[in-house]
């Protein structure tokens, strides 16, 4: 039955597409998404264990293979051979579906990432409309609406998480999933709002277009509003992929393991894979949106050479993919670093942080991004030499000043608000709070 279905799909694909895209699709699907990315993710797990060990003055896995390199494989084999357990009253189908949904969500977001520069072709400029050489991007699909696509597929993850908690018939799992769905829905908003300046500046929703624009005008993280957007995007990404300090859904000490409490064997392995794969995907997205993809810092190096010979293109793509993976690696290290440093946040503060600090900051940042657009980007749209030195620095100074003001203002307001709510809580309960207020703890650094 399955084979028939596959053959129908294959016939359809063969009928729909030329032979070469078909081969490319096959390669992406079976070499990339079914082979390389899970392997990469397994080694991200190994890397996390090694790095976390170093942060705690330990060695980390070193028993299986040299440097413990086969540890992930051993864990995988262990997970595969464990007993697959489903609770008696669980909703079997949904219980089986939930981890798959999460994995699908993580994998789908990798489909539009331009890992390399691809080749160069003549396309219409989204801002000015004139034809100019544009990067095609080395990605599985180049969607014209890539950014909303990313947001859409990442929102499927919260559905999978919710179903995992619900179908387990366990109150801890349900609590964990309810919490985490609220968390993911809340942090999706600053995450989306942080990408809006990027879309505004590049005038396109396609990730390849954004990459192309950054290669031309410089990385977005190097501008003050872009840096602020980068920071907000990273913080909300931590919450989106449930990493420390926002790992409330799987809080071991409070909820045992949260939403995947009742999962064992490879189904738990799928959750594990999905978590790390979504972390990888988020780092890829961040690199593409803010760090200029595979561009080498301060150089327009491979771009002018592209579009000639296939061999040269392949070689240059290899270089850009290497640079891209280096940047992604640094971001992943950032994830490990934060996890090794910060303790878990409390639920109410987590929500207050998103709604009262990040979202207002995002909105103000959007205004400042518009100022940057007006000063630096719009006046030189279509001119090949880009903004002048003085113009760039005027824009930098103005927006940097505004950013600093916005940051301190937002944090100050946030503090005022939390103190105010603490006061009202004290007066309403009429007694001293049992939990010591965070402001009254003497901080020593």
């Amino acid at each position: 039955m399955n084979g028939l279905w596959v053959s129908i799909v294959a016939m359809k694909m063969a009928a729909l597409s030329e032979p070469v895209p078909w081969v490319a699709w096959f390669l992406w699907l079976f070499v990339g998404f079914a082979g390389l990315f899970p392997l990469l993710v397994a080694y991200i797990v190994w890397g996390e264990r090694k790095v976390a060990a170093r942060f705690q003055d330990r060695i980390g896995p070193n028993r299986v293979g040299p440097f413990g390199l086969l540890q992930s494989i051993a864990d995988l084999v262990k997970l595969l051979f464990k007993e697959d357990f489903t609770p008696a009253r669980a909703d079997f189908l949904i219980h089986a579906l939930a981890p798959v949904l999460m994995l699908i969500s993580a994998m789908l977001s990798l489909a539009v990432i331009p890992f390399g520069f691809g080749s160069v072709s003549m396309r219409n400029d989204p801002v000015t409309g004139v034809l100019r050489p544009t990067l095609t991007g080395f990605s599985a699909v180049d969607l014209p609406s890539g950014v909303p696509y990313l947001i859409a597929v990442s929102s499927i993850a919260s559905l999978g998480l919710f179903l995992a908690g619900w179908s387990s018939r366990n109150k801890y799992a349900l609590l964990g999933s309810m919490r985490s769905v609220a968390q993911m829905v809340s942090y999706e908003i600053p995450q989306v709002l942080a990408t809006v300046p990027i879309v505004l500046w590049s005038g396109t929703l396609s990730l390849t277009g954004i990459l192309d624009r950054q290669v031309e005008t410089g990385w977005y993280v190097l501008t003050p509003p872009g840096f602020m957007a980068f920071v907000i995007f990273m913080i909300s990404s931590f919450a989106e992929v449930n990493r420390a300090p926002f790992d409330l859904p799987e809080a071991e000490s409070e909820l045992i393991a949260g939403f995947h409490l009742e999962y064992s064997s490879m189904r738990f392995g799928l959750f594990f894979l999905a978590e790390y794969m979504s972390m990888f995907a988020v780092c890829c997205i961040c690199t593409t949106l803010f760090l200029g993809g595979g561009a080498i810092p301060f150089l327009a190096f491979p771009r002018g050479l592209l579009g000639g010979y296939v061999v040269v293109d392949l070689f240059l793509n290899l270089i850009t993919i290497l640079v891209f993976s280096l940047k992604v690696g640094l971001l992943i290290f950032l994830f490990f670093w934060v996890r090794a440093t910060l303790p878990r946040m409390r639920v109410d503060r987590l929500m207050a942080f998103a709604w009262k600090l990040l979202i207002p900051l995002c909105l103000v940042n959007l205004l400042i991004a518009a100022i940057w657009f007006e000063i630096v980007i719009r006046p030189v749209a279509g001119r090949p030499d880009g903004p002048g030195f003085l113009q760039w620095w005027i824009g930098f100074g103005v927006t940097a000043l505004l950013e600093v003001l916005a940051f301190f203002g937002a944090v100050w307001l946030y503090r005022q608000d939390s103190e105010h709510s603490l006061k009202t809580w004290r007066s309403s309960t009429g007694s001293k709070p049992s939990i010591i207020a965070w402001r009254s703890v003497p901080t020593k650094v």
């Binding site: 909703d91 189908l93 014209p144 696509y149 859409a152 597929v153 929102s155 499927i156 559905l159 309960t429």
Partner: protein
């Protein structure tokens, strides 16, 4: 479970049907039949599933299949928006609603009665027959676009290639008033939802927890007592720490 098996069986039959009968029409009709058949089955599942969470899951599948149909209609941006809004927000909101109004696991089932269904089925089938007849009355509807030699409008080709940009410009120029009105509607619904979902009495009442007369969420007299006791957390003595 039964419906899911039905869905997959239907898709399989549709695929075979496509291979046997619709080869000469080109592949897209077969794809359409499969997607649309699955969508209709999911819609039926939404309406008939007795467990509300299952119902919501069928609805999610239906939303996804409608997004697929949008892609077939070359409105990729709208398909993405469909997934984003309906699966990412509406479905989650519905799940939360189910969790908050059912028992904690949300799997109470409701009983169906034939008395209730029969008239509804008659009305529904009647309406469907009416609509189908009306659709089939127009012979030009049944021809494929390629057969009708529709005029290729350059503007439309452009919007298909750059839909997000064109849509944004259009919303800001030609459709500015509806756009602003929708913004107003969303703001109003945000405020309204917050106001409605507040615990009873916390908006207009003082610290004593009694709702003032004429407040937004005034309750019938015989019910307000038990409601105020259960939901107004700051008035509960057991939450105050020693």
């Amino acid at each position: 479970m039964l419906l899911l098996m039905l869905v997959s069986a239907g898709m399989l039959v549709a695929g075979l049907w496509e291979i046997l009968i619709f080869r000469e029409f080109g592949p897209m009709r077969g794809v359409f039949v499969q997607i649309a058949g699955a969508a209709v089955l999911c819609a039926v599942g939404t309406v008939l599933a007795r467990n509300l969470i299952h119902s919501a899951l069928y609805l999610v599948a239906f939303f996804f299949l409608v997004a697929c149909l949008f892609i077939m209609l070359e409105a990729e941006f709208l398909a993405v928006m469909q997934v984003l809004v309906f699966i990412g927000a509406v479905a989650i909101l519905l799940m939360f609603g189910i969790m908050l109004t059912q028992d904690v696991q949300g799997d109470q089932v409701e009983a169906h009665s034939v008395l209730r269904r029969l008239p509804a089925a008659i009305v529904a089938i009647g309406l469907f027959v009416m609509l189908a007849v009306a659709v089939q009355q127009r012979p030009d509807f049944s021809k494929a676009r390629t057969e009708r030699a529709a005029p290729s409008v350059a503007a439309r080709e452009r919007v298909l290639n750059q839909m997000p940009q064109e849509l944004g410009l259009d919303l800001m120029q030609r459709w500015c008033l509806p756009f602003e009105l929708v913004g107003l509607l969303l703001t109003a619904s945000l405020v309204g939802a917050v106001a409605l979902a507040q615990p009873v009495g916390s908006l207009s009442a003082g610290s004593d927890g009694t709702p003032s007369p004429g407040s937004l969420t005034e309750t019938p007299e015989h019910l307000s007592r038990e409601v105020a006791g259960g939901t107004h957390s700051s008035s509960r003595p057991d939450l105050v720490s020693p």
